[in-house]
């Protein structure tokens, strides 16, 4: 009798541990496949499912919440995908949630992703349907990638030509960048120009006081004064109507004026540079 009980408990332990292992394996695999625990169904209509298969994961906010249960073609342009989803996430899925098909990595399985809606606060019902976002096909991605790669090719070619001419060419810009003499002469001409314009304004002042031109300048001043008076009258009326708006506009005008001035200055400088550049080789020669 003792001998008998000696082996029966060992046998019992052996069998029960074995069965326990089997049951836990079944339970965990089943949990993975949503066979156990409460679930609910929703479905969505797609134009194409791009390789989605029954058993693929359903994701919501990146978390696996269920699996694709059935894929059914209803006519030539639409496919209904129904999925099983854990009941515990149901409260997060609203009626305006949308289903899309993505893929898990570059080579991975397809996954059905549910993205949350914005407005609705109504929780989705069992067997409800949600809208779908058409998936991005790999072909489309490849097409757009090809386009941008082609463009990059053109750009880099042109960039190469540009930099080559910058380094080796004899153009104005290239010389400006490379040549120290050039830079010096540019600054010299600029200072010359400054003094030149000063002289020019003095000449103008002198011309104003000259009797030949005096009458002409006086007429101009009178006209200006008249115009200003008219303007001031108008402005006074308008200001009464909308002071605030005017102020704004004036500010804007001022800013614009500044910008224009800046632009003009730049343009002037550029022109001068070009002229200088033209002059330079002549000097050298």
């Amino acid at each position: 009798m003792e001998k008998e009980s000696g082996y029966t408990w060992k046998l019992g332990m052996f069998v029960s541990i074995g069965l326990l292992l089997f049951i836990t394996a079944v339970y965990f695999i089943g949990k993975q496949k949503n066979l156990f625990g409460s679930t609910f169904h929703i479905s969505s209509k797609f134009k194409t499912v791009s390789g989605l298969e029954v058993g693929n994961n359903v994701r919501f906010s990146g978390i696996n919440i269920g699996t694709v249960e059935e894929i059914q073609i209803i006519n030539d342009s639409s496919v209904i995908v129904s999925m099983v989803i854990k009941d515990e996430v149901r409260k997060f899925i609203k009626t305006d949630a949308r289903a899309g098909i993505g893929s898990d990595g570059l080579m991975g399985d397809k996954v059905l992703t549910i993205s949350p809606g914005v407005k609705s606060t109504k929780i989705i019902e069992d067997n409800g349907t949600i809208a779908s976002i058409d998936g991005i096909e790999m072909n489309d991605i490849m097409k757009s990638v090809k386009k941008s790669v082609d463009n990059v090719g053109v750009i880099s070619e042109e960039l190469a030509i540009f930099s080559h001419s910058m380094n080796n060419g004899n153009g104005a810009l290239a010389r400006l960048v490379r040549d120290d003499k050039m830079a010096n002469s540019v600054s010299n001409t600029l200072s010359n120009l400054e003094s030149g314009t000063k002289g020019f304004s003095e000449n103008m002042e002198a011309a104003k006081s000259n009797f030949l031109f005096r009458g002409y300048f006086k007429k101009k001043e009178k006209e200006k004064a008249k115009k200003q008076e008219e303007k001031q009258e108008k402005q006074a009326e308008q200001e009464k109507a909308a002071k605030e708006e005017k102020e704004k506009q004036e500010k804007e005008k001022q800013e614009k004026a500044k910008e224009e001035k800046a632009k003009d200055e730049k343009e002037k400088q550029d022109k001068q540079k070009e002229q200088d550049a033209k002059k330079e080789p002549e000097k050298k020669q």
């Binding site: 029966t8 069998v15 074995g18």
Partner: protein, 252 residues
């Protein structure tokens, strides 16, 4: 040639009759519960250390062997899933069954063969004990039920071995390892493999009993019975495995 062919067919016919007799006697009382439990203990519990060591080594070796291939593909992270799949689907059932064929089938063949030679079986019949019911039914049933459990142990221990193998060169958390395995498994992996093992167990027990029960008179026939039991059982395991794979492929 024709005679040997005829003999082979006769053997197969006898084995079929022997197997069908098992199902008849299984249903009809008396039931030998005590002997059945004892056989379960001998076949199941006593084989466990052997199966455990083999399973652990298989898991370890399989992991180390398949790592280089997966590394060339940059798919090292699929190692747990791949090891688990191949262990559970194929390697653990077949290796365990082969070990059981070596240990159990030969044991049963030698035991029953020597009982036959020393006329203990005849003595049983004389003393109104059905030797088939007492010796054969209990052993075959014990085999059929214990081998699947041994295979499940081999699966589990093999996976632990695989974990050890992965941690030789990499570093994977045990929980992460388990979750990767479970992610890669499906019922279509576990269930057919488990059903298959019942057939393995049945044939291991049945062939051992058949060879022993039909041993010829004479001492050397005991050895021959044990030997041919191992060979035939191993061969039948591979044949069953082939059929099982084709059926599984058909269904899933």
């Amino acid at each position: 040639m024709i005679l040997s062919l005829k003999n082979t067919f006769a053997q197969i016919g006898n084995a079929t009759l022997f197997a069908s007799r098992f199902f008849k006697e299984l249903i009809v009382p008396p039931y030998e519960a005590k002997e059945f439990l004892k056989q379960c203990y001998i076949i199941g519990y006593k084989s466990f250390p052997l199966v455990a060591i083999t399973g652990f080594i298989m898991g370890l070796v399989l992991t180390i062997q398949s790592r280089p291939t997966l590394v060339t593909f940059g798919a090292e992270s699929w190692l747990p899933g791949m090891v688990a799949l191949s262990l559970i689907r194929e390697i653990a059932p077949v290796i365990t069954a082969l070990i059981c064929a070596g240990k159990i089938s030969s044991g049963i063949g030698a035991e029953l063969g020597s009982m036959k030679v020393t006329e203990q079986i005849d003595a049983m019949e004389v003393s109104a004990i059905n030797p088939y019911n007492y010796l054969v039914v209990t052993r075959i049933l014990a085999c059929t039920l214990m081998v699947p459990i041994l295979v499940i142990f081999a699966d589990a221990i093999g996976l632990v071995g695989g974990y050890a193998g992965i941690n030789i060169k990499g570093d994977v958390n045990f929980y992460r390892y388990l979750s990767q395995i479970i992610q890669s498994l499906e019922f279509s992996d576990l269930i057919p493999a488990t059903i298959k093992t019942f057939f393995f167990g049945f044939f291991i027990g049945m062939i051992g009993c058949f060879k022993g029960f039909n041993a010829a008179n004479g001492t050397e026939s005991v050895g021959r019975a044990a030997n041919s039991a191992v060979v035939t059982a191993s061969l039948s395991i591979f044949i069953i495995d082939m059929i099982a794979v084709q059926l599984t492929d058909l269904i899933y």
